[in-house]
Subunit: 149 residues, 2 copies
């Protein structure tokens, strides 16, 4: 597959579920581990999973997009999907947009967190966004609605 | 901290140990999880840890480098350090160089593994390289030589 080929929705959706597995497995190992590194890992993996999940939803709308910026990906979804994702996070529209902007590029920044002195992440927002994206993908793919996912 | 500032050896070394924690925690959650996604996570996290570890060793030699390519980072280490890292992996020189070239950019490729049909990774090599880098960083920093690391 070269860069010009369009990756199918199913293929990206399955990759999103692989990241769900990775996050779940990572969470299992929490006990007895330093909380600082646990938090860093959660921010990196959670942000990457949001990115892949949004790309899967975009592929479903025939809008194959690249790049890490979550706000750019999100803003290219159709308005109904955007509204539904926001609603599930329980954030008000303005708070959601502000949080999305503030947390748009953690995968880029946090993997090299040691290069910066002023990193902040809204963990609550990242995981609400993650679960909202997952819920929407689950709905589109009923075969994945099992207790494992 | 802006992009022009040099990040200290200690700071990058500590980040490497955070990735060691992340890998250890991830490994703890292996039981009962799909082996395919476990493998993908190991390749991504192991490759990123090798990158950060090599950058720490380069910082120690006052050679701050950016970029993901492991062979470029490795080849900029002083020859004695290169030789010592190779020796610890138990690979012969030519095999090591070939494997390094074949496994140089997994962090870039595997995080979007679904975009490619022909990905391969030498898991044995990645983790031997990881443990060799860790052993060298441990030796430089005796305070980290605990059973936890």
């Amino acid at each position: 597959m070269n860069n010009n080929e369009v990756v199918s929705f199913e293929r990206i959706r399955d990759a999103f579920y692989v990241y769900c597995d990775i996050i779940e497995r990572y969470g299992k190992g929490k006990e007895g581990s330093p909380i600082g590194s646990f938090y860093i890992g959660c921010v990196i993996l959670g942000s990457l999973a949001c990115e892949i999940g949004l790309k899967a939803l975009l592929a479903l709308e025939d809008k194959p997009l690249h790049g890490h910026c979550l706000n750019n990906l999100f803003n290219n979804l159709n308005p109904q999907m955007q509204e539904s994702i926001i609603q599930y996070t329980s954030y008000e529209l303005e708070s959601f947009n502000n949080a999305l902007l503030e947390n748009k590029d953690h995968f880029v920044k946090w993997r090299y967190y040691y290069e910066s002195n002023q990193l902040a992440a809204n963990y609550d927002f990242i995981f609400k966004l993650f679960y909202s994206i997952k819920t929407h993908l689950d709905t589109i793919n009923p075969e994945y609605q099992t207790p494992d996912h």
